[in-house]
Symmetry: C2
């Protein structure tokens, strides 16, 4: 029994096209799948891939048919897209999003909401360094967390349905408040990306002296950072700005800790250095026990 | 035709046992392989694994038979081990090491050197998060760089032989000065490790509030950092202290860049943020073209 009649995915990129692939593969996420993108080229590619029953640039006609609209656009575009989508939706339909930040996305979408539309904010914590409709994977969400931040306007039925959808994608679910979500994601995801981008920049600025060697001799440490840093620039710019408060707090804490580590190295404080390294190992071990590593 | 008669590997850990496995697999690195470790337990494990012809805690008897002694101990132990090893070596033998830093290792070993022993400092840039004799892999060095920092006391023949040994391990070779080596490694390897350890500590210190969620929801960004951070604490403590000058310089540059990124986010400077992210992608692309990613 499909969760929804018609599911409309707005923005069939990495996340959106993964949901579509999963829905095609299982058949019980929705009876009918429509992909919407502002680019005719992306729509054509979705048609070629055969991952939706229909792919169109006509957003209002598409969402008018939807029992559920899933917004998979960059977080900075959520507000504008919701302003177009929500007025065209049919009464009783469910709106959901997959944004990596929740407080600012909810703030951006809220002015467009209607009393007869249930909104369920969600964040599937999965991804790769690739983007676009070709990057999706039917099993992208398998064993990954999907965080849900239900609001007053989230009905029990809509929450149940969106939970079912993500469960059928293979995700593990957890509910929390939007602000708690943003703090957790700042430390586990946004700050690591900020640091990865920054160290690539620092390396790039050594250009004159050692740039070619940096490229030649990237040992495993640096290689892992560049994998993180290969992600989509616009998406990450939006995420950084959308989660500014929590991210800058975590960056501040990190900078204090990095300064302390620098001082310990300067002063040969071996006990401090080892205790910090041990903390990293302990966290790693917990992650492995938690099937997250 | 084997490069050496008897090769003695002091410290059959990840790197040392990988060299032994390669030597066993090919047969043309040395005619006879001896592993030396201060731990009888490690020696017993090397015997069980069958990756050396002999495994012993008797370091002076072992190195007296060596045509080449390869020091694979933590960089902080190189000086003390060399002081024991070099006086026991036979005239004309070759001494080499695999330390991740070169200036301080060379300084530590130099007082023990003899005119009739050729010393070839080397650094195979390969590794995993695992350590000990069980962690080694015969193909660990395949397509990885091995950096050589020859000195005045490095004879042409000894350099040729050590180059042959690493070529037969599958490594790509490059020669440079010790200080240049240390600067390059500070940015491509040591600083990334320092940042990875630090962010794990920062996350750990959130304990009271959000620690369990951090563990639960480690998205891909944080997961990659913890993989780096899972490395051996003593080894990394030694590397940080051994490459203090170059590492603190690179940390200083990085901190300036991270502060600038924080300011850009604070001030919604989207152009700056995107330009930094683009740099990361450009470096990633170069690495992929260079077969390092």
């Amino acid at each position: 029994m499909p969760v929804f009649g018609t599911l409309v995915v707005v923005g069939p990129g990495l996340i959106g096209s993964s949901v579509l692939r999963r829905a095609k593969a299982r058949g019980d996420l929705a009876q009918r799948l429509i992909a919407v993108d502002s680019s005719e080229q992306v729509c054509a590619r979705v048609r070629e891939l055969g991952i939706a029953d229909e792919a169109t640039t006509d957003i209002t006609t598409a969402v008018a048919q939807a029992d559920c609209v899933m917004l998979c656009v960059p977080v900075g575009a959520m507000g504008a897209v919701a302003a177009t989508v929500v007025p065209a939706m049919k009464s009783g339909a469910v709106l959901t999003d997959v944004g990596s930040t929740k407080v600012s996305v909810i703030e951006a979408i809220t002015p467009s909401l209607r009393a007869d539309i249930a909104y369920v904010p969600a964040h599937p914590m999965a991804g790769t360094e690739f983007s676009g409709p070709d990057a999706g994977l039917a099993n992208l969400f398998e064993d990954r967390w999907c965080l849900l931040t239900p609001l007053a306007c989230t009905t029990a039925q809509s929450l149940h349905d969106i939970r079912s959808l993500w469960e059928r994608c293979g995700a593990r679910l957890r509910e929390m408040t939007p602000s708690h979500h943003d703090r957790v994601c700042a430390i586990v995801s946004h700050l690591p990306h900020l640091l990865a981008f920054t160290i690539c920049g620092t390396a790039d600025h050594l250009a004159a002296e050692t740039r070619s060697e940096v490229l030649d001799f990237a040992a495993s440490g640096f290689r892992d950072f560049t994998r993180i840093a290969a992600s989509d620039p616009i998406m990450w710019r939006d995420i950084f700005l959308a989660n500014k408060t929590a991210l800058l707090e975590m960056l501040g804490r990190f900078m204090e800790d990095a300064k302390a580590m620098g001082r310990a190295i300067e002063e040969d404080d071996t006990a401090y250095i080892v205790s910090r390294i041990e903390e990293g190992r302990a966290i790693r071990k917990s992650l492995q026990e938690n099937r997250q590593a």
